[in-house]
Symmetry: C2
Subunit: 438 residues, 2 copies
């Protein structure tokens, strides 16, 4: 009998490994924050003794979801301005509100609200882009989530700094601070090609090369953005990034609703990561990302919710469903993005996009125990012919019962263990009164 930290017995284990193995009546064995074995429960009971044994009965275990594009602090602007096109929404509503309200406290409170929502909806890892990233990183540590914290870059001054020079300094300092952190890493995060000039882009490129960091950028979000960029720079955004030598596997290209066949091939050839945010793209009428064509070309496609001001939730379960449904509608082919593909987009593909597929994104021996448990024994997910179908098409976030990151439990019987739900709601209501003027 080997002594380990934890045994998780479950009816179903959805691994999302290379073979999409689905195990029945198996046990996940966790020691020192990692998965060290997955084996039949009967065998596990004979082989391991654990400090903590959780018998999850009929529940299902699967890798925690990875939300590959967020602006967490914007949770405080959820429902603040709806039903407007991207540029009007940004220029007339969001940017003025951010100009007036965004500070360290806004980012702290908004990010905490968002992380509570992430945990309650089965997300173990997020990839954020916002001002005051040092605050978001602190809150992530408190929450216990795995995170890639975007180091914002934009041409104009904001509450966070006077401009590119200061953003770069602050970003590099944060990069250094977290370079050896077990859960938190950083990525350089130029806002978009229409808001960041060549000089800061090249500086970030160099910094990313030096530190083997990712670059996280909004790209080809709308036809309007591309037209504007063509006016400003005489070429499409992707062509400019190519000229600057930035197309590689460390580039996380978010949105990508406007793509020619040649551009799709270019993304595939360079191993660029595409992050798809279907609900935000729909809500802002930004266009339809050609997901079936991207996948067919061999591009890695991950999923993000975008910020809660344009979604308006951080529910990656729902996003996975929307991604599977919308891809079929757009392709005119009901067989594209089947359930296993949708599930991979929300898990292992996110880990690949963030450069952490060796650590998370699937339940496999040697990876961190980033795990969620789901109760499918409800009216809404019965009968159960195929657990993966239920996960993608029928279940919802409230069926998630437990969540662990690197073996640490952050949700237990739907209760947050690291964050104070009541306090978080109170703070959100105070911001609502301030910002909403009521």
């Amino acid at each position: 009998m080997k002594q380990v930290d934890q045994l998780l017995h479950a009816r179903w284990i959805v691994t999302v490994n290379e073979h999409n193995d689905l195990f029945e009546y198996h046990t996940l064995v966790v020691d020192q924050s990692k998965i060290i074995d997955i084996l039949p429960t009967e065998l596990a009971k004979q082989s391991y003794r654990a400090h903590q044994v959780d018998d999850l009965g009929e529940q299902l275990l699967m890798p925690g979801l990875i939300n590959a594009h967020t602006h967490l602090a914007m949770n405080l602007l959820r429902g603040f301005a709806d039903d407007l096109p991207l540029m009007e929404w940004l220029e007339q509503q969001i940017w003025p509100a951010e100009g007036r309200w965004v500070d360290e406290q806004f980012v702290a409170d908004g990010s905490e609200l968002a992380m509570a929502e992430l945990i309650r909806s089965g997300t173990t890892c997020f990839n954020d882009m916002y001002f005051f990233p040092e605050i978001t990183a602190q809150v992530a540590q408190k929450a216990g989530l795995r995170a890639s914290i975007g180091l914002m870059m934009i041409d104009f001054p904001t509450a966070w700094g006077s401009g590119p020079e200061e953003y770069l300094q602050k970003g590099l300092a944060l990069q250094q601070k977290y370079q050896d952190h077990p859960l938190i890493r950083t990525a350089f995060a130029p806002h978009a090609t229409y808001t960041v000039s060549d000089v800061p882009l090249l500086q970030l490129k160099q910094a990313a090369q030096q530190h083997n960091s990712a670059i996280h950028i909004h790209l080809h979000e709308t036809a309007g953005e591309i037209a504007l960029h063509e006016k400003q720079h005489g070429c499409r955004p992707l062509a400019r990034l190519d000229k600057l030598g930035m197309l590689n596997a460390n580039l996380q290209a978010v949105h990508m609703t406007q793509l020619s066949d040649e551009e799709i091939q270019q993304l595939a050839d360079n191993g660029v990561q595409v992050i798809h945010c279907p609900e935000s793209n729909l809500k802002l009428a930004s266009g339809f990302a050609p997901i079936a064509r991207l996948l067919a070309a061999g591009v890695n496609v991950a999923l993000g919710t975008d910020g809660a001001a344009s979604n308006n939730d951080l529910d990656l379960f729902a996003e996975m469903r929307t991604a599977a449904l919308l891809a079929k509608g757009v392709a005119g082919d009901a067989s594209v993005v089947p359930t296993t593909t949708a599930l991979r987009m929300a898990t292992i593909n996110g880990a690949k996009a963030l450069g952490i597929a060796d650590q998370t994104g699937s339940l496999e021996v040697g990876k961190a125990a980033d795990v969620i448990a789901i109760d499918l024994n409800t009216i809404e997910t019965q009968p159960l012919y195929d657990p993966v179908s239920q996960l993608v098409y029928a279940s919802s976030r409230n069926q998630i019962t437990h969540l662990w990151v690197a073996g640490k439990q952050l949700l237990k019987e739907r209760q947050l263990t690291t964050l104070d739900e009541t306090q978080i709601i109170k703070k959100a209501q105070l911001w609502q009164k301030k910002i909403g003027g009521q």
Copy 2:
């Protein structure tokens, strides 16, 4: 002090009346199954004494949702066959499975499972189309839901009958049985123009005129269906129904993904009801219904989930959200189907489509107390700038706490009061073993 049956005090009352009135700190006064007053809570406490007083605190009251297109019994085939195009899905999976398994018990158990799901997701009224409608009607009575029961018609024999002649007989008998029922009504339900010949269509037209009943039909679901119909009949399905004199306000045209400008105008001119099932259309890659154009032309558009075999849930909250998001993407205009329109599509427009807008679909004096209560005081729906935005874009079915139909409570603190959840799940699992062969 007037004595009444029930007072419901709530922070918010979303009426969905003609002016989309939103009341704060108001009370819904219910007597003899109807809403008799809506007034400020302070005033209500001075004016009414009630047998039952529910103080819902910070919760929100709104009309129950109306699911205008279902195949309830198909809940037993949820997740049985995914990721296939409509005709392959129907001909190779669904029809053979139905041929083998559908009988009275299948319809009873499947419909009960579905009604439990409807109630738990805030739906007070549904519009069904399936075999053995007499069974569905019985289960609806047991559940306490408001329903329009479709009297199926199809050219070929099924477990329910030998063909059109018998379907018509059985349908007329059921029509008569329920003609004076307070909650249950019937509609004639020819499956589709490619599966029902002129003779039975004309018989149903006559019967519908005679009884002032609705006709509920799948129409223009896919481009393939239209091509097939053109081959069979030399015209598009809508043109054939026009020739047969069936285009009027009693016609409920479900799906309508393929429509020319002239056809949209024809629908508007004839007051035809369009029932939009966005998630089913996406999942089967059937095409995009031109919702913004239909609404602009003045067509009444209601929402349905379709059956759980092509969705795979009956969550009209999620369907409302998908409808709002998808319409923007399809129109390329983020301002179409704003929150209030989406909410109307899921409530009052459904009542109009079913011909019962005088009884339900909004919270107004004189209408039945078909009401749901929702808790928006959660991590996922804070801060709260605009309750309707939270309802459409951020909340989910599990936030529904209570549900009443004609004043009778069917859900109380998320517990079913008329149906047995545990028994229903057990029965679904038995069917899963039989049908899934495990």
